[in-house]
Amino acid sequence: MEQFSQAMIIGVSLGAQYALLALGFTLIFGILGVVNFSHGGFYMLGGYVAYSCVYHLGLPYPLAVLAAVFATGALGYLFELVLLERVIDDHLSTLMLTLGLYLIVSTAVLLIFGPVSPEFPFPVSGAWRAGPIYVPLENLVVLAVCVCAIAGLYALLFSTDLGRGLRALADDRDVAMAQGMRPKLLFPLAFALATGLAGLTGALVTPILSLSPSVGDPVLATSFLTVILGGLGSLGGAALAAFVVGIVEAYTSVYFGGSVGALVLFILVLVILVFRPTGLLGREIRGA
């Protein structure tokens, strides 16, 4: 029973991290129709920016996390505005551009920081105990920040004019434009928002897991799994699927070993893609 509860806590904690990543990923697809292959790169970059701010600039960790969010958001904004916007309606070209950006970013990080993982521990240590249940404090902090960020994102998308504009563009770009929405203004903002979320996750999670130039690859795979399961472009679906993926991963890791869980998830996603491409809560978007 103790193991069962512990696995649930790990699963929820993982789910919150995956939700942050998946929301950014699905936001970009839902609004811009772009599959962002550089999403893992922004996660990795967020980790390295936070690390540099703490160890090279001497900033406190919370400020370093903010710096990571702004740096990845700014890079995302510029990338969308300067490059992606030119080919925004060609899905193959946008996919290739994001792939190209990922290769450039990971190579730049590799050149600057080297292939060895830097020492970047989470500033909070210890654990919270309630009877047989044991939760590392770092996981609690990450969970709290993730929940706040997800709530903030929902508030932004559903309670502000900016959010309404972004959702209108996601629903029907032509009608939204006829109503006065300006994609050239809103698309870079949406991209920056999503990459900022990836940067935030990287800054929060890499001190707990690991930081290296290749950490973006598994993150991309997890983001794919989550958004396909939830339905490409569906924010609610992505959040739900993130917790499903986190919990399934935690339980299968505890009871069967890591690879079995991953295989089960991938096969589940394959079946969903083939028979219900719109995922758990998704709907057909942009004829993707």
Partner: protein, 331 residues
């Protein structure tokens, strides 16, 4: 579903004209034939190694290119390479070392597996197809790790016996390179044959799949043919790779390597079969130029991908062809 209206897509077979001669396919095959001569000019092990890498890369890129002819971007190439490569690695220790038999096996096994898979995944298009092929590659990686009795698991299969050609063992580096040339030539001929024969069908699917279907073209049939042949060609690349390394290891077939093959094809140019050949040759050569700083290669691929997508959509061969047409037009 009605049979395709063949008359709607006439094949250009009425009489011979040089204008209709498949120059690009001929030139691509000529490259592989010319590669046989490399051992006659040099004994440099470095050149042999680069040539081998390029030949494996070209064959894998040809697999990507076949799918791109139908506007389908695939990340499943490493998965089918693994199936071809592991088929050889499993059968060779059992005594099946004949070059012809192994070439046939490495093509047929992935192609047969692609048949039911294709029937499933080819229902998808665009982004969903990209994602499903990525997932397929990830699943195959996990299966390789989880079946140690068959695939050696994380250790892979090593100590694979050398391929034999008419009873002679192809052990030396020269012989391995010539084998890679032969596999490349076979892959090029298959690719050229299929894409020429179904040229207009693939073009119709690439241009507008729904319109082509409404005109009576049985889309799924041609997509399955393309997918199966692309899987077989990728299997040949897997055989070539395993024959070069004499080892089959999961890391040789990681889903990330699909990015390299896509980069070769896009940068070389997707409009002609020469694109993957030129793109692979150039990028493998450039990667080796960096020598010990090979880590820069991925960044270089990134910059080239951005440049091609934004400035030269046809890739290297497409841009050269456009330039050639402009010069000819000006004259």
């Amino acid at each position: 579903m009605a049979e395709p209206v063949e008359g709607a897509l006439p094949r250009s077979s009425a009489g011979f004209s040089w204008a209709g001669f498949p120059w690009a396919e001929f030139a691509a095959c000529l490259v592989f034939v010319a590669a046989f001569a490399i051992p006659s000019f040099t004994r440099s092990q470095l050149i042999y190694s680069i040539a081998n890498q390029a030949l494996v890369g070209v064959v894998a890129a040809l697999s990507v290119w076949i799918m791109l002819r139908m506007n389908l971007l695939t990340f499943a190439t490493p998965a089918f390479m693994a199936i071809g490569g592991y088929s050889v690695a499993i059968l060779a220790p059992m005594g099946v070392t004949d070059a012809f038999a192994l070439t046939a096996i490495s093509f047929v096994v992935p192609a047969l597996l692609a048949l039911p898979l294709g029937a499933l995944v080819l229902r998808l298009r665009g982004t969903y197809f990209v994602l499903v092929t990525y997932v397929l590659s990830e699943i195959l990686q996990l299966i390789l790790f989880m079946t140690p009795d068959l695939t050696g698991g994380s250790n892979g299969i090593s100590g694979i016996p050398a391929v034999t050609f008419l009873g002679t063992e192809l052990v030396s580096n020269r012989a391995v390179l010539k084998m890679a040339c032969a596999i490349g030539l076979v892959a090029c001929l298959i690719t050229a044959g299929v894409t020429r024969y179904f040229r207009q069908h693939f073009a119709a699917i690439e241009e507008n799949e729904i319109l082509a279907e409404s005109l009576g073209l049985v889309i799924w049939r041609y997509k399955v043919i393309g997918f199966v042949v692309a899987a077989g060609v990728a299997g040949l690349a897997g055989f070539s790779l395993v024959n070069m390394l004499l080892t089959a290891h999961p890391s040789s077939f990681s889903s990330g390597s699909a990015v390299d093959f896509i980069a070769y094809t896009i940068i070389g140019g997707r409009a002609s079969i020469l694109g993957p050949v030129v793109g692979t040759g150039l990028l493998v050569w450039a990667t080796n130029l960096f020598g010990t700083q090979g880590q820069l290669a991925q960044g270089m691929y990134g910059v080239l991908i951005l440049a091609v997508v934004l400035a030269a959509k046809g890739g290297i061969t497409g841009s050269i062809a456009t330039l050639f047409r402009r010069v000819r037009g000006a004259n």
